[in-house]
């Protein structure tokens, strides 16, 4: 039994990585790039994103880098994200206890010169066991970007470098099954090139990627491509299609999926990502899987409440190989920079018919520099 009351652990690390809050899309604006410098969202905020961070928060405060106390040249943007969490974790009926763990410490920089810009994310990562000194610091993302309309949030973008191929909802919370078992896992960044077009009415992202030739132990082990397209049918409705092919030395995985987003009233966003996964193992064996996540988000003042439903069928040819999870997350945006988040999960095997359920309840602190 895990009887220690305090376990410093990264087992449940829920780092935000490069993802953003897709819950804000449609509710706050039509595209990710209207609030972020990256055409895929995540990382550094644009002026509109900074304004959103200020207006949604309880007590405001200057949303800029370091509260605008550090003057920056016009071509340079800096920022960062820091996260840590602690709370109760229960693996099964006996194995339970309190956990505390760091999650994220990343700094961002973007230097823009006309149509060209350089983006770098560097910080602390979960180090390799027994090799901490060499693996503690890493740059998850670094890319060179050209955009058709400098300073604008729309148009054609071309990126070359290391980044997460654009696929799926791209939630901050990587335990959501569409990330955990789908095509955008934690630390899934790798080297590639992307051609992207963003417009308030529609967007498309085509990415070709390779297995990281520098860091051989990266999570993305394959070569392949990802395609994500989304149409804003109305200002309240978006429909997306997605596909990804990932070929590793061991297997070939094909993802095909649909994404839907619907605003209800002015304060609720429902979004879902359903992926069909065809997994062919070179040595023999085929799996057809379903990975699905649906999230309903309710905005009230400085709070955002998320109810998430997750379903994963490991192999559709057999019963009792499915698992489900329910998430209830409450975000409180205290200031432009500070967020307190209560995350709760209840997870089952075959709806409880195939073994013990598990879960956690964690309080997370997020500071955006």
């Amino acid at each position: 039994m895990r009887n220690a009351l305090l376990v410093v652990s990264v087992v449940l690390a829920t780092a935000g990585t490069a993802a953003a809050y897709p819950q804000f899309q449609l509710i706050k604006d039509q595209t990710c790039s209207s609030c972020h410098l990256s055409p895929a969202g995540g990382g550094l905020l644009s002026e509109n994103g900074l304004n959103t961070a200020e207006t949604i928060s309880q007590w405001g405060t200057a949303p800029e880098f370091f509260y605008k106390k550090v003057p920056l040249p016009s071509w340079l943007e800096l920022g960062g994200d820091f996260r840590g969490a602690g709370g109760f974790d229960q693996s099964d009926r006996i194995d339970k206890g309190f956990v505390v763990f760091p999650m994220q410490a990343d700094l961002y920089a973007a230097a823009t010169f006309g149509a060209y810009s350089v983006h770098v994310t560097g910080g602390v990562r979960d180090p390799q066991d027994g090799n901490t000194a060499k693996t503690l610091f890493a740059s998850r993302e670094h890319w060179v970007q050209w955009q058709q309309n400098p300073g604008e949030t729309e148009g054609v973008f071309v990126r070359v470098g290391r980044f997460m191929p654009v696929f799926g909802l791209r939630e901050v919370e990587h335990p959501y099954y569409d990330r955990r078992y789908g095509g955008s896992p934690l630390y899934g960044e790798t080297y590639g090139a992307a051609v992207e077009y963003v417009d308030p009415k529609w967007e498309i992202h085509a990415t070709g990627f390779i297995h990281d030739p520098i860091f051989k132990d990266s999570i993305e082990r394959g070569n392949g491509g990802a395609l994500y397209g989304e149409a804003r049918v109305t200002e309240q409705t978006a429909l997306g299609l997605e596909a990804k092919l990932d070929i590793t030395p061991d297997d070939k995985t094909t993802y095909v999926g649909v994404v839907g987003k619907q605003v209800i009233g002015k304060t609720i966003l429902v979004q879902a990502d359903v992926q069909f996964v065809h997994h062919k193992i070179d040595a023999g064996g085929i799996e057809n899987q379903i990975v699905a996540t649906a999230i309903a988000s309710y905005f009230i003042g400085p709070f955002m409440i998320d109810l998430g439903l997750n379903d994963y069928h490991e192999n559709l040819a057999y019963k009792l190989l499915d698992q489900e999870a329910i998430d209830l997350n409450a975000h409180w945006f205290a200031t432009s920079h500070l967020e307190l988040l209560l995350t709760n999960r209840f997870q089952m095997l075959a709806f409880g018919a195939d073994g013990e359920s598990s879960g956690y309840s964690l309080l997370q602190l997020h500071y955006r520099l």
Binding site: M1, R2, N3, V10, V11, L12, A13, S91, D92, D95, D126, P127, Q128, D129, G130, N131, R180, Y181, P185, L186, Y187, K216, D217, S218, I219, R221, L241, T248, P249, D250, D251, V256, V258, V274, F276, H279, I281, D282, A283, G284, G285, E287, N288, I290, E314, N315, L316, A317, Y318, K319, L320, L321, Q323, Q347, L349, A350, D354, G355, E356, S358
Partner: protein, 141 residues
């Protein structure tokens, strides 16, 4: 069929796949078990991926899992000939009882934690790993 509709038809067809809970004819091989069970459940970024390699164990690739089970922690899976004293196949539960991998997914590790920590494996996956070990772990060496 309208070309725009084929992804939806594909999803529908997949969802209607005939399931079977009375048998499991999935390959009980080292490669399949690594790719279908160990990689998604144990070889995640923050646990036994090559990137993190908790306790030196790697389960997110066939090569990594082979290195883990034959070199790093050769007590994870025992073939009959590796038992002390060596036995001939079939050695039955002797191999199962000696294999630490089976103990930690079915019961507890030396620290008292069942693996994976975040969610137990399904019984069907545990039985497939059990079958593989009882079959003398084909494909491991």
């Amino acid at each position: 069929m309208n070309v725009k509709m084929w992804p939806f038809a594909l999803l529908l067809a997949a969802g209607c796949n005939v399931e079977n809970d009375t048998q499991d004819d999935r390959p009980a091989t080292f490669e399949f078990i690594t790719q279908a069970i160990l990689k998604p459940s144990c070889g995640t970024a923050e646990c036994h991926s090559a990137m993190k390699a908790v306790k030196g164990d790697v389960f997110d690739s066939v090569a990594g899992a082979r290195e883990t089970m034959t070199v790093t922690h050769s007590d994870l899976v025992y073939k009959c000939e590796q038992l002390q004293p060596a036995e001939t196949f079939p050695c039955g539960n002797d191999a199962l009882n000696a294999s630490y991998l089976y103990q930690v997914i079915d019961d507890k590790d030396v620290e008292g934690d069942r693996m994976p920590l975040d969610q137990a494996l399904s019984n069907k996956d545990i039985v497939l790993i059990r079958t593989w070990i009882l079959d003398d772990a084909p494909g491991l060496n």
